[in-house]
């Protein structure tokens, strides 16, 4: 439920005609969710993003675990955000226990994170979202007519995976990166391999962004929203920070996220919801570009300026293009990071300077702001709160689903076509339902 004008508890079955549009199982998204929209006559009476994925209670299970155990457990919240959870977990642990982050470790984590952004964005933009716009049920059926794009997009995705494998030990849920550093740093051969492949993929990444930039973006759902993302230091465009910046200009320190993003439980979802100043907000790649996109330089900066327009702040479909532009950024950034790492000696694992404290780790997952908030006592977790981007986005998504359903219905669209459009909107957020169900704020009694 989003705003008072969509009350879901008022149901008049009298003479009114109740029409329900249901997407039972969202396809081409990660996890098990659905959409329910109900009309009473022409009045929209219900908009629910239903989350069927069961609760795993990761925050409650975290109690009593060590920092390294947390670095191993929390990535299992979500496979497609495994490195984001890893980096958020590491940042929370290192802030709580005062562990240093030497340059080599910092740049390695940065590069590992770019691997995940590339993998996740290329999977979402080309394999999950693009079929919607070109009229296919899945990416494989695009092969006949768009073979080059599909093969190259898969190569891009594979490259992202290869980076994660090199830095984290496995494509999914590697154990090499932990609070304190890396078990083993990549060899120079591996670093050269990464650099070369990034250079090879540059041309395709730019051309592919033009394909996404050329797609016609529907306008039946446009409305301004609020965007939030990590605020980055100086002029850097980077996927983490210690502050959150909102599109209304407000900046809050990471430790104050709870007071500013108020959470609640809704009966139709095991994922909790959050509002900013009482309103839904977005934390997508589009949020990043809207808030800090001006910091982009090079080809990514050029493409940001080429495509940015006034519809970006009111239409979530632009998230696909935003992800594509970020992929250019990653591909451009990699050779630069490799050059830095090539000259650096391997370093020892850093040790904690204390045994207790609280640390908040903010990271930009491919699909938006991710928060890990840990409190340690005697080197073990006593309190843990994790909020994922999809959980933050759910209210905003419901808002847009509501607007779209109302407008499409008023235009006399058929139920099937409305259903397809609603699913397409949900996909544009790149939702990660596994992520959204690990539930969050432990309620203190």
């Amino acid at each position: 439920m989003v705003e008072a004008k969509f009350p879901n508890n008022i149901r008049n079955y009298g003479d009114c005609k109740v029409k329900t549009i249901k997407v039972n199982h969202l396809a081409r998204v990660e996890g098990d969710g659905g959409i329910t929209v109900e009309f009473d006559g022409n009045e929209l009476t219900k908009v629910n993003i239903d989350i069927f994925e069961g609760p795993r209670l990761i925050e409650a299970l975290a109690i009593g675990k060590t920092a390294h155990e947390m670095n191993s457990i929390t990535p299992r919240i979500c496979a497609i955000c495994t490195v984001s959870h890893k980096n958020a977990s590491i940042r929370a642990c290192e802030r709580a226990l005062s562990i240093e982050e030497p340059e080599k470790t910092y740049y390695s984590r940065n590069l590992m994170h770019l691997g995940e952004i590339i993998e996740s964005h290329s999977l979402h933009v080309f394999a999950l979202a693009l079929p919607d716009f070109l009229g296919y049920p899945n990416v494989i059926e695009m092969v006949d007519k768009h073979k080059d794009v599909v093969i190259q997009a898969l190569n891009l995705k594979k490259f992202g995976n290869r980076i994660m494998q090199i830095f984290n030990g496995k494509f999914i849920h590697g154990e090499n990166a932990v609070a304190g550093g890396f078990g083993k740093f990549p060899s120079n051969e591996e670093l050269h391999e990464i650099k070369e492949e990034a250079e090879n993929l540059f041309e395709f990444t730019v051309a592919a962004t033009d394909i996404v930039g050329g797609l016609e973006i529907p306008d039946y759902l446009e409305k301004e929203t609020v965007f939030g993302c990590c605020n980055t230091a100086d002029n850097q465009y980077i996927f983490w920070g210690d502050e959150i910046i909102f599109s209304d200009g407000t900046i809050i320190p990471s430790e104050e996220y709870k007071e500013n993003l108020i959470e609640r439980v809704v009966p139709h979802s095991y994922a909790k919801r959050s509002l900013y100043k009482g309103k839904p907000f977005s934390v997508t790649a589009l949020a990043r570009l809207n808030n800090i996109g001006e910091k982009l330089t090079g080809k990514a900066g050029e493409y940001f300026r080429k495509y940015k327009n006034e519809r970006w702040t009111k239409n979530p479909f632009y998230n696909n293009l935003a992800q594509s532009i970020e992929t250019i950024y990653c591909i451009e950034k990699i050779p630069e990071l490799v050059e830095k790492l090539l000259g650096m000696e391997d370093i020892e694992m850093q040790k904690p300077q204390r045994t207790e404290g609280r640390g908040v780790g903010l990271v930009e997952a491919p699909r938006g702001l991710l928060v890990h908030d840990y409190t340690f006592k005697d080197e073990k977790i006593t309190d843990c709160n994790i909020i994922t981007p999809t959980a933050y986005n759910l209210d905003d998504l419901e808002k847009y689903i509501g607007i779209a359903a109302k407008n499409l219905n008023d235009n006399g669209e058929e139920t099937d076509s409305i259903r397809f459009e609603l699913e397409k909107i949900a996909r544009s957020y790149d939702p990660c339902i596994s992520c959204a169900t690990h539930l969050v704020n432990v309620i203190k009694k």
């Binding site: 199982h25 396809a27 081409r28 990660e30 098990d32 239903d50 069927f52 994925e53 069961g54 609760p55 795993r56 209670l57 990761i58 925050e59 409650a60 299970l61 675990k65 155990e69 191993s72 299992r76 979500c78 496979a79 497609i80 495994t82 999977l123 394999a127 999950l128 079929p131 049920p137 899945n138 494989i140 898969l154 190569n155 995705k157 594979k158 995976n161 030990g169 496995k170 494509f171 999914i172 849920h173 590697g174 154990e175 090499n176 932990v178 890396f182 078990g183 083993k184 439980v265 009966p267 139709h268 095991y270 699913e423 339902i433 596994s434 539930l439 969050v440 704020n441 432990v442 309620i443």
Partner: protein, 258 residues
Amino acid sequence: MSNKPTLGIFGFTGCAGCQLALLNCEDQLIDLFEAADIKVFYEAMSNNDDGAEVDIALVEGSINTDKQKEELFHIRKKAKTLVAFGSCASYGCVQAMAYGDGKWEERFRKVYGDVEFAVGKAFEAQPIHKFVKVDATIPGCSPATHQMLTAITKLLNGNLPVYTNAPVCLECKLHENECLLNKGILCLGPLTQGGCTAPCISHNTPCVGCWGIIEEANHSAEIELLIENGYKIEDIIRKFRIFGGSKISEQYTKLWRL
């Protein structure tokens, strides 16, 4: 009519990493769609046929709502061969790390308060064999490309996958890694089903046990060794449990009052 074997890929509670592991076979993905007639794969396609009978059902994730339980029964009825795909489906994985301790409801209330949910009543995460007959497994968190593709190829050809009953240590030795246990580090390699090719130990980080406990694992011997090295029993047991799921709780509760 296609004479290709039919395949359904289904996901329940977990990180969706097993389905992602399939999508991560970038070089083989087109071949897979060629070799099998894929009826259900929600994570990858929107033309799914839920009602279809399938030769092979790959079931990812553990079961922890009554809605999921009903869906699993439905899949079992429609599938000739049902495969537990990955650690969550096989033994519960991380969400089952406190399996059977009797405190699940307390944890649930701690996280959600007293809300009544309309999306299926939740219960403690269970591996799928608690509800239906499982014909085969593909181990891993998440499955390794080579092992998973070999298993799927066998399944598509009408055979069941077989695995070497050897712990992670065997593959670790093949990589000529120095033994972490010998260095006094708590590594679960000797107790864990191999097949992952020991990537973690090859990166100087200990095995966490994410392929699940191997048959005939000698937990007592490892406990003795670790205690000699100065580890406390509660720390050792906690590590065993993180990825031990239902298996460790059932096999060893009696032995050590876990």
